[in-house]
């Protein structure tokens, strides 16, 4: 039996190695994680928070333990894991969520806790100090923006605004956009066409990106700018053939067809605008105030960067919505609600909130924290002036509770490239989108009941 390569060990040696391995494994296990985490079971003064990396820093967890006497256990945000935890009856005590699109979905399914009683007795989070963006976390059973509060945004931006690189404008001999008055969507696109640089049919510098946070929120917001609503009054249907929605859709398809910026048919390998803008390969980036955190860290880039108001449609209403409003909500089945609320107050009203406000990565969601926004350097003052003016035009664009935005986007992404490539008309696309998305909404409505 020497047909096999490698010297076979003796039986004694093999057994010794196996025993050694098993002992090492057992020792490692008992030293590390045999015990069930009390955090996941949600008992005692331990609060499980499901967030993304960087939302709560390790040193902040240490500080919270000292200041609040509460141990925070972090669980990485993952929708599959969240559903598993909700199904098992052991949900996290607080969960990260994108208020603009997720709150109606979870509130309508009765898995989110109403927080009005907690807000009413809080000395940290007072109703008159809450920025209107927190209305994204309200839902009255039908419409987002009204009714009880289910969560709060940690920071926000008005996501139809855009940054532009003055060096790219200078190079192309294009005038800068007005500081506080919006351009029209058509003007924005015409400017992007003048700014785009191509070499051997490859785009070297994008003229502008306009992708929104999701296609769903982008189209809902642009439709609102055109004076309409993407959804029916009861949010159970979309209608892309309605004049305002069609106008919004046609503009977006035009943007993709002209290939002035990243889109489904011309993706940016970086996956988001930041690195591309930083590398001088993007003249205008449809990102709100939050991207100033990245820009501010690069002095040269900050010098040539300006923030501009959200575009409008000629004759349409001036709307500058938030498409994110990412924050936290509390599952109805959370086991440790009082301690979770204390962490909620700390996260939104105390040291972490102050750190976020001064970091420049978003607008604070408490009005009292606005003075902490970076305003020392000239470019910061310029940005702040534009942003403060834009806040006057904030409004909530309500999203449907009957689908998640990623499901909406998946259907859009399947259907729209044909129109972007000119194979089908915008009207045909509108009809196909209505059919596919309304079917999805119908199923969602059946689930909610």
């Amino acid at each position: 039996m020497r047909a096999h390569a490698g010297a076979p060990p003796s039986r004694r040696r093999f057994l010794a190695m196996s025993a050694g391995g098993a002992m090492a494994g057992a020792a490692a296990l008992s030293g590390c994680a045999l015990q069930v985490s009390s955090g996941v079971s949600g008992s005692g003064e331990t609060v499980t928070v499901m967030v993304n990396s960087g939302d709560i820093l390790p040193e902040q967890i240490q500080q919270a333990k000292k200041d609040l006497g509460i141990k925070i256990v972090l669980v990485k945000y993952d929708i599959t894991k969240l559903i598993a935890m909700l199904t098992s009856g052991n949900p996290p005590d607080l969960v990260r969520g994108v208020g603009a699109v997720e709150l109606p979905y979870f509130a309508a399914r009765d898995v989110a806790e109403e927080l009005d009683p907690y807000f009413a007795r809080s000395s940290v989070l007072k109703a008159d100090d809450l920025d209107p963006v927190n209305d994204l976390w309200r839902f009255d059973g039908r419409t987002q923006g009204k009714g009880p509060r289910y969560g709060m945004a940690k920071d926000f931006s008005q996501d139809s605004m855009y940054w532009y690189n003055t060096a790219a404008f200078d190079k192309a001999g294009v005038d800068y956009p007005p500081e506080t008055d919006p351009v029209t969507y058509e003007e924005w696109l015409a400017t992007a066409e003048r700014l785009v640089q191509r070499k051997n049919s490859q785009t070297v510098v994008f003229g502008g990106s306009f992708a929104g946070l999701t296609r769903a929120t982008l189209l809902a917001t642009i439709t609102a700018s055109a004076g309409g609503s993407l959804f029916s009054d009861d949010f159970s249907r979309v209608d892309f053939t309605a004049p305002e929605a069609r106008k919004a859709l046609a503009w977006y398809i035009d943007y993709c067809r002209t290939k002035v910026g990243p889109s489904l048919i011309q993706p940016d390998p970086n996956g988001w605008d930041g690195p591309t803008y930083q590398a001088g390969r993007l003249a205008m980036s449809n990102s709100g105030y939050w991207m100033g955190g990245m820009i501010g860290a690069d002095k040269k880039l900050a010098e040539v960067s300006r923030l501009a108001p959200a575009p409008i449609f000629a004759g349409g209403e001036r709307i500058s919505a938030c498409q994110g409003g990412t924050g936290l909500w509390m599952p109805r089945g959370a086991k440790n609600k009082d301690a979770a609320w204390r962490v909620f107050e700390w996260f939104f009203g105390e040291e972490p909130a102050r750190a976020r406000a001064s970091g420049g990565w978003g607008i604070p969601t408490l009005k009292s924290l606005r003075p902490l926004m970076p305003a020392k350097e000239d470019y910061q003052k310029r940005v702040l002036k534009v942003q403060e003016n834009e806040l006057k035009h904030f409004s909530v664009v309500s999203f449907t509770p009957y689908t998640r935005a990623d499901a909406f986007d998946a259907l859009f992404n399947q259907t729209a490239p044909a129109a972007m490539n000119g194979q089908i008309s915008v009207d045909t696309l509108a009809g196909r989108l209505n059919a596919a998305i309304n079917e999805q909404l119908k199923r969602g409505k059946e689930q909610v009941g």
């Binding site: 060990p9 960087g54 590398a279």
Partner: protein, 289 residues
């Protein structure tokens, strides 16, 4: 390589032809090796660039200044060693247990006869076709009921449960061993447990090492299970590398992610380099090459 070796008495023409053939062969082999190494090389280069160089167009092939500090930052910005330790524990425990349990099950399928054995083996192989996503939620719910979420016990149970692919590997290997060995052992008074432990297992070193490497690599590289079952502190390097390198805005820092990915891959490369003889022999002797 016998076809390309030079016969001692060959004519100059033959020698030239053989040399040309050998040169062509080496050129092809080096090209293919380069093709396979390409992605890893690109990853290493990405880890040595600035964010601007990563996003540059036309492509910036080589960094202006090699950013070696990206590797140091990738190592220190998260608890890299802590996550690596978690990965190592899980991978070692699972790989050891699943190798032994799969060998035991494979031995049963190869050497024992019972009604329904073929059907059972078919069911076992059929379970390989179930996508992991299908069993994800039920798996979580079972472990949640058992109080094993956020512990490493699931990997112990998975290890003890054998893995269909490895069972197949062992079954093929054991099926090829001569019947006389087994019969002689039975005559000498051995039961089947003794035959497995004393005769078959010590003879199967190549397939044992192949199985261990495969199982270790699965676990080291698994993202879904640790992401589902473990909290941020106890999770593995695979999850940390994918998720932990973000800026204050929550967007990924690609150069650090690339540097960390290089360091993440190194242990697997080392294990393969050390044990490749056994791995290759194990795969070929089980008839799965």
């Amino acid at each position: 390589m016998t076809a390309t070796s030079l016969p001692p008495t060959s004519s100059p023409d033959v020698r030239v032809r053989v040399r040309v053939r050998r040169l062509t062969l080496y050129t092809v082999l080096v090209s293919v090796a380069g093709l396979f190494l390409g992605p890893f090389g690109w990853l290493v280069l990405s880890g040595l660039k600035t964010q601007g160089e990563l996003a540059a167009s036309p492509v910036h092939w080589l960094p202006d200044v090699f950013q070696w500090h990206n590797f140091a930052r990738a190592f220190t910005e998260i608890d890299f060693l802590g996550y690596a330790r978690n990965s190592l524990i899980i991978a070692l425990v699972y790989a050891t247990l699943v190798t032994l349990s799969s060998a035991w099950v494979g031995f049963g399928f190869a050497r024992l006869d019972a009604p329904g054995k073929k059907v059972l083996f078919g069911v076992l192989l059929g379970s390989m076709m179930l996508p992991q996503m299908v069993t994800l939620l039920p798996t979580y719910l079972i472990f949640a009921k058992l109080g094993m979420v956020d512990t490493y016990w699931p990997w112990v149970l998975w290890g003890l449960s054998a893995a269909p692919y490895l069972v197949f590997l062992f079954r093929q290997f054991f099926a090829g061993m001569p019947r006389e060995l087994e019969e002689a052992a039975i005559v000498d008074g051995c039961g089947y447990a003794s035959i497995f432990w004393r005769i078959f297992l010590p003879q199967s070193w190549p397939v044992l090492s192949a199985s261990f490497i495969i199982a270790f690599t699965w676990t080291w590289g698994d993202y879904i299970a640790p992401q589902l079952l473990l909290s941020t502190d106890r999770t593995t390097l695979a999850v940390a590398v994918m998720t932990a390198y973000v800026n204050e805005g929550g967007t990924p820092v690609l150069e650090l992610q690339a540097a960390a990915s290089v360091m993440y891959v190194v242990p697997i490369l080392l294990i393969f380099l050390v044990a490749q003889r056994g791995f290759v022999a194990g795969m070929s002797t089980s008839g799965l090459k």
